[in-house]
Each structure stands twice: as C-alpha cells, then as structure tokens.
Amino acid sequence: MLAIVSAAAIGCDKIDENNYIVYSGASGEWFDGTPVEDHSQRAFLEKYTGVRCNNCPTADQVIAAASSQYGDKLVVVSIHDSNTLQRPIGDSPDMRCPDGDTWSKALGVFGAGEYPMALVNRKPSGNGWERFNPVGGVSTQIDEALAAAPSVALSLSADRVDASIDINVYIEYLSTLSGKQTVTLLLIEDGIIATQKMPNHSDSAGYQHNHILRDVITDLWGADIDANGQAGTCRKARFSYTAANQEWNLDRCHIIALVSDKESKKVYNSAQCSISAEK
C-alpha cells in the first residue's frame, strides 16, 4: 500500500497552472522572403454541409463541376459544424470539426441553420458576410472574386518530417493594405467514405467526401503576418504542425493557406499544396 501511495506521488507529471500553454511556433517563424512567382487571384469557397442534409450531394456536384472549370483558381473547403444534420449516420466517420463549428457560428451559418451554405472569400455584406446556397450555382460568386485585382500573392509547400509537417508560406504584398493581415493554415482531408443522405432521401454508405476540414493549424482566425502591409513587402513564414488526431489519414491530406484581413475576416487570397511524402 505504501508503494502505491509513493508511486501515485511520483508517477505523474504536474503542470503548473501558469504553464498549461507554451509558445508553439504556430504563429510562425518569420523571415524576409522573395517575390512570389504566381500572382494569381484565387477564390476561396467554404461550403457548410452535413451528412444528414439530402441537398448537400447536389452542392457537391455543383462544386465538383466548378473545380473542373476553374482548376487551381478555386480553393475549396467543406465544413461539418456541430448542428443536427452533421451527426454521423451509424458508425460512419465523424467529420465534425470544432474549428469549423466556431467559424460556422461566427459567420452566421449555424444560426441560420440552412444547409448547404457557402461563402466565397468571406465577402463582407452589411454587418455580416455574403452567404448563398451553392445548389443554385457558384459561378457568379467565383467570377466576382477572380475579377478582383490580387493585393497579395502567396504560395506554400508542406513536407512530412517524422510525425510532423513542416509548412513554408511565401507572401508578397502586391498593393499596400491597411490594418493587420493574418495567414490561416487549414488541414484538409479528401476521400473519406461516410454515409450520406441523398436527394431521394436514401442513405449512401459509400459516399466519398472531399475537401473536409480536419483542423485549423494556426490560430482560428490566422497568425498575424509579421509585415507592415506595404506593397512590395515579401515575407516567408515557417510553421511546424503535428496532426491533432491520429485517425486522420495524412496521405489523403493537403494544406490550404489564406491571407485575410484581421478585422473583417475578408480573404484576400488563398493557395493550396499537397503534403510531400515523409523524408
């Protein structure tokens, strides 16, 4: 009994209350950068969806067609928040993401309770953001986003090193921006098989879900960009990340980067890259 009491006293690590969190490097290590080669303006489309939403597969078809049409000019994320329609059917994988849930609530999707719902580049509208049902088409919003002159160019790379992912983001200010800007990194998984309600109200057990938001790597609304916003400024940031859930299949994952306005959340530009094999 004495041995058990002794073991209990020494057998665990006690973290002091002031040290529950420590600097992570998730805000990135920042360096002087070089100009970004690709100055393309891209459209960031975030779709809020659910496995019990029978209209959502139609939206998936619309977005798949748009991806074919716009190629790498369109960056897509599919988000399952914690609303009722997102509850997994049977023992299907749970695709709900707490970070996506926070976004959904902040951007007014959760409160509206209508799915599917989409935003492109988080375009401000009134006191909120412009949301629309993607079932009716997404080209209008994407064309509008792509027509804007790019104010920021960015590119990124991601490499697996042991259990972590090294991510390098390259940012070039093409025009001067006021206020603060942030860079947000997302972990996205494709090819998840999970049961989905279909438009005819049947369940499709073999439905393939793509662009699923698994985690926001940086702070939820992005890490502050260490720059003064002046046109011509080039910065490079290095991030290190370890997947928060071992059930995510990193072989099917890629990374999305967004540069946003810190206040309005408007997305200036976005880019995505695959994760290279483990070195």
Binding site: D13, Y23, L220, S240, A244
Partner: protein, 558 residues
C-alpha cells in the same frame, strides 16, 4: 495482422519454452498431459436498402464476424490464442476491424501464490475506475493489454498485482500502461479476526500511462498545450460485510490529463462510488451512489471513440432486457455525472395474502443520473471548470420500474412490468428535448410439458417524443410490440415479433427467428428489420445502424 507469421513463431517458441519449464517444475504432469478446449462463434448478416428505416445496401452483400478461441492447459501452464475475422465487419462494428488474424495470444503459469501471463491479458483493479482491460464482443470492444501481468500472494489474505503493456487498438497496439494493485483481507491476516462475522477488505491501486509530447495548439495564437507525458490514476477501496449487510466504497483520483475526451483541460479527475446492501432469504435491497468528475482515462490522448480507455466507470442504471425499456439506454458519462440507484426485491411467500398458491416476486428499481453543477473557467488549455461536490446539473437519465412475477398455475407464469423513463439526448452527444416514456409489459410463459414451452410478450410505450426528419431519431413516438416464442423438443425454437410505431413515429420492425441447439452447439437464423439505435452494456454503448435482411449465428465449444 502484418506479422501473423511472426506472431505464430513467437507464440510457438514461447509455448515450447514454457512447456520445458513446466515439465521441469511439474514433471508428474508430463509434457503431453495437457488438453485443448475452445469455442467458435460465427455471425453473419445480409442487409438491403430500406428508405423507411434508413438501412443501406451492403456493398459486400454478406458481412461476417467470426472468431475462434483455442486454449491449451497443462497443469499450472496454459496458452491460448484467438483468431478473429471481420470480412467485413457487421453493421454497427467499427470498420477499422476489417481484416483477419491472430488478435490475442498468451502464455500463462499459475500456482496458489504466483501467476504470470505474457502476451494479451485482461485485468481489473477494484471496480475498474483506475484500470479495466476487458472485452465485450457484442459492443465490438476489446481493450486487452499486451505485455506482462503478474499476481503474487505472499501471505494468505494479501494479493499484489503488477502489469505493464500496450492496449489493443483494432489490429494494432498503442500507448504504454503500467499498474499495480494491492488488496488485504484483514480477517485472513489478523488471527483474532479469522472467525469474525464482520469481514473487512482494503485495497488500493495505481495506474500510469506514458505518452510522448505532441503539438496540440491552444486557442491562443502561437501557443500549444504543455502536455504531461505521465498521467496517473490511483484509488482506495474497502469492502465491509456482516451477516446480510454489505458496504462497499471506492474513491479514485486522476492527475492532469488533457485529452480529446475532456477537450484538453487540465483539471484533476476524481470519482466516488458507494454501495450499501442487505439481503436475506426472499428479500434484497441495494442502494448505490456515484459521482464522477473528469475521469475519462485513455492510453492515447488524441484518439476519440470507444477504444483505448484504460479505466471504466461502473454503471448504476438497471440493464433492462425488454425492448422498450432498453430503447433509450444510458451511456455512462466519464466527463462528469452524479447518480443514485435503489433496487428492491421481495418474495411474498406461498399461501400468504399476496403470495397466493405459488408465491409472488416483486422487483422495484429506480435510478437518477444528472450532470455536475459546474462553473466554466475556460476551454482548451485551462483548468476547464470547477464543480460543486454535492451540486447537481441537468437531468441526464432517470427510470423507475416495477416488475411483478407470479405463477398463475403450475404451468403458467405471468410477469407484468411498468416502467417510466426520462432521457436527455445530450448523453448521446446531441441537443433535443428530454423524452418521457411510459412502458407497460406483459410476459406470459406457458410450460405445456417438459419439452414444449410457449411464451407471449406484449409491450406498449407511450412517449412525448415525436419523429422529426431533421433529428432522424427513429425511436421516437408511441410503440406497440408483440412476440410469440415457441420452444419445442428442447432443441428447437421459433420466434416471431413485431414492433410498430402507431403514433408520432415511423417504422414497422418485424423479425422471425429459428434456432436449434444440440449439446454445446447453437445455430440461429433470423430475418427482419433492425431499428437504428444504441445498445449499451454496463454503461458502454455503440451505435446500431438500421438493417433489413437475414442474420445467422453459429456458436460451439469443445
């Protein structure tokens, strides 16, 4: 699974080595003096699409869960293995089980004072609040440890246990778990107490897990969690008995354990379980109380789901067997709950006023489970919350049932049951109104003769829940059920049942089953519809998706 051949070679080598040891230690038994026992279970399922109940077509058409346990015993020595095949797993079982191979193997040597097991083993300390490695095949749950487990009894009345191992995770092993337990029976070690009517046992356990550091970001930009690599849980327990009275208690404590279970908070965990009972011929009474606060303890902090739990929170709700009383089972909330259960059984004697000619049994059971009264202090990377020890939060679950069993004649027995269930869907992880269900059941058994038995069962459930296509809970509404079961020739049985939602619900679930038993072999074939729902055993639950089709099962032992 990747190294089945290697496992077989290791298993064979260890078995031969242990055989050499045992034959040396206990030559009288001889090397070939052992015997082999085992059991086999094969379950299969065919299911087709049904849009009303929500079942899907199965791509494989046939789903099978199969297993064979083989045990070799030779005196104090034993060795065993279990081959499992999930090709593919039946509906409701985690798809990560897909595959086949030797899932469990061990060698063991046991004497009166010493026992050692190498390989896979199951173990429980006390009520399990710090350590319970167990398997429940019907839940698809297997938390076996693979490592070394030692038990030593240095003196009569003193039992010491020690273990180290990794937990099974489908076809892999994960985590690192170490534990020890001590139990002392004072009536055995104190001579003056040997014959005492009062029996007193004291025990304690300590369990620790180790995990490497990993990056889990805090909610504050640029910061991550400072994770403890070693997390410990310990407990003390007592068992006091005198005559028909019994009193058991266990208190457990867990150190800081930020994990996906508690949303990565740093609050210490604790749990208290109390049980008082009295029994005599024809009467038994039991009261249990429980308070659990942040006691989810997994060997891998970032993996969700039912696997990899090191500990177990005892359930104090009745395990109902009738369909409608068990329609909304309660899943134990290891993150926090308070509960109280009272159970009373009494037998009115034959020829008494209420007993009549054959006597009457009554069984009353009531339980109430609530959340904790908490004050939120923060989210991920904080203390999380504080809680009042005696304060209660929202109601999670409550039920009361009265069961009266009476023989109406020498061949006919009637069991009548009334139950009232209050269920909060938040315990299944989603919002919604609290359901209130009334259930009435009549169960009549007619023993026609020694080899022929006919059983009728009628159930009714009235609920204030309504089926909502958005929520899609197919248990909602008012239901009726009928069942007829005929056992004949002592070997065959046939059963026909139907559950029908006659108001505010959807679904008509009929089932036909035929079974045959000969010796240790049992074969059963069924056809019908299974409602989507949840089954719980001991407070641990799994989802059961809807199905429509054929099921069959074969079990045998040798």
């Amino acid at each position: 699974m990747k190294s089945i051949r290697a496992k077989i070679i290791v298993f064979a080598a260890v078995t031969v080595a242990m055989q050499c040891v045992t034959s040396t230690v206990a030559k009288a038994q001889g090397i070939l003096g052992g015997h082999v026992t085992g059991n086999v279970q094969f379950d299969g399922q065919l299911s087709k699409r049904d849009t009303i109940i929500g079942s899907s077509d199965v791509p494989e058409k046939l789903l099978t869960n199969a297993r064979a346990d083989i045990l070799y015993t030779n005196g104090n020595f034993s060795a065993g293995l279990r081959y499992e095949a999930y090709l593919g797993p039946m509906l409701g079982f985690n798809s990560q089980y897909t595959g086949q191979g030797i899932a469990n193997y061990f060698v063991s040597y046991k004497t009166q004072t010493f026992a050692v097991t190498a390989g896979h083993f199951y173990e429980q300390f006390g009520s399990g609040m710090t350590m319970r490695a167990y398997e429940d095949r019907y839940l698809g749950l297997d938390n076996a440890l693979r490592g070394i487990n030692v038990t030593y009894r240095p003196w009569k009345g003193v039992t010491l246990k020690g273990l180290v191992g990794q937990q099974r995770y489908f076809w892999d092993t994960k985590g690192l778990v170490r534990g020890m337990d001590a139990e002392v029976s004072f009536n055995d070690i104190i001579t003056a107490w040997n014959e005492s009517k009062t029996r007193f046992t004291l025990g304690g356990s300590f369990v620790s897990k180790y995990e490497e550091d990993e990056t889990i970001l805090a909610d504050i930009s640029g910061f991550k969690l400072n994770l403890p690599k070693n997390v410990a849980a310990s407990s003390v327990r007592m068992d006091l008995n005198r005559g028909g009275f019994g009193l058991q208690a266990e208190y457990a404590f867990k150190s800081q354990d930020p994990s996906i279970v508690n949303d990565y908070i740093y609050k210490n965990g604790n749990a208290l379980w109390l049980s008082a009972s009295y029994s005599q011929k024809g009467l038994s009474a039991n009261i249990q109380a429980k308070r659990v606060d942040n006691m989810g303890f997994k060997s891998v902090r970032s993996i969700s789901g039912e696997m990899l739990y090191i500990n177990y929170t005892p359930s104090i709700t009745k395990q109902h067997t009738y369909a409608f009383l068990s329609m909304y089972p309660y899943a134990t909330q290891s993150t926090g709950e308070m509960g109280l259960q009272a159970d009373f059984m009494y037998k009115f004697k034959k020829e008494s006023l209420l007993g009549g000619k054959y006597g009457t049994d009554i069984h009353i059971n009531a339980s109430l489970i609530t959340g904790l009264d908490t004050t939120v202090l923060g989210g991920k990377g904080t203390e999380g919350y504080s809680s009042s020890f005696f304060g209660t939060g929202e109601t999670y679950y409550g039920d009361i049932s009265l069961e009266i069993a009476k023989k109406l004649s020498s061949k006919v027995k009637l069991t009548a049951t009334y139950g009232y269930v209050v269920f909060n869907p938040v315990v299944e992880g989603h919002a919604g109104d609290i359901h209130h269900n009334h259930v009435a059941i009549a169960d009549l058994t007619w023993k026609i003769n020694r080899k022929n038995v006919l059983r009728f069962e009628a159930e009714w459930m009235g609920s204030d829940s309504h089926y909502d296509p958005i929520v899609d809970d197919k248990r909602a509404g008012d239901w009726i059920m009928g069942l007829v079961e005929y056992n004949f020739t002592s070997a065959w049985f046939v059963s026909l049942s139907d559950q029908y939602a006659y108001k505010d619900g959807v679904g008509n679930y009929y089932n036909l089953s035929v079974g045959y038993t000969k010796g240790a072999t049992r074969l059963q074939v069924g056809y019908g519809k299974q409602r989507e729902g949840i089954i719980c055993i001991g407070g641990v639950c799994r989802n059961v998706p809807a199905s429509n089709g054929l099921t069959f099962s074969l079990t045998t032992s040798f």
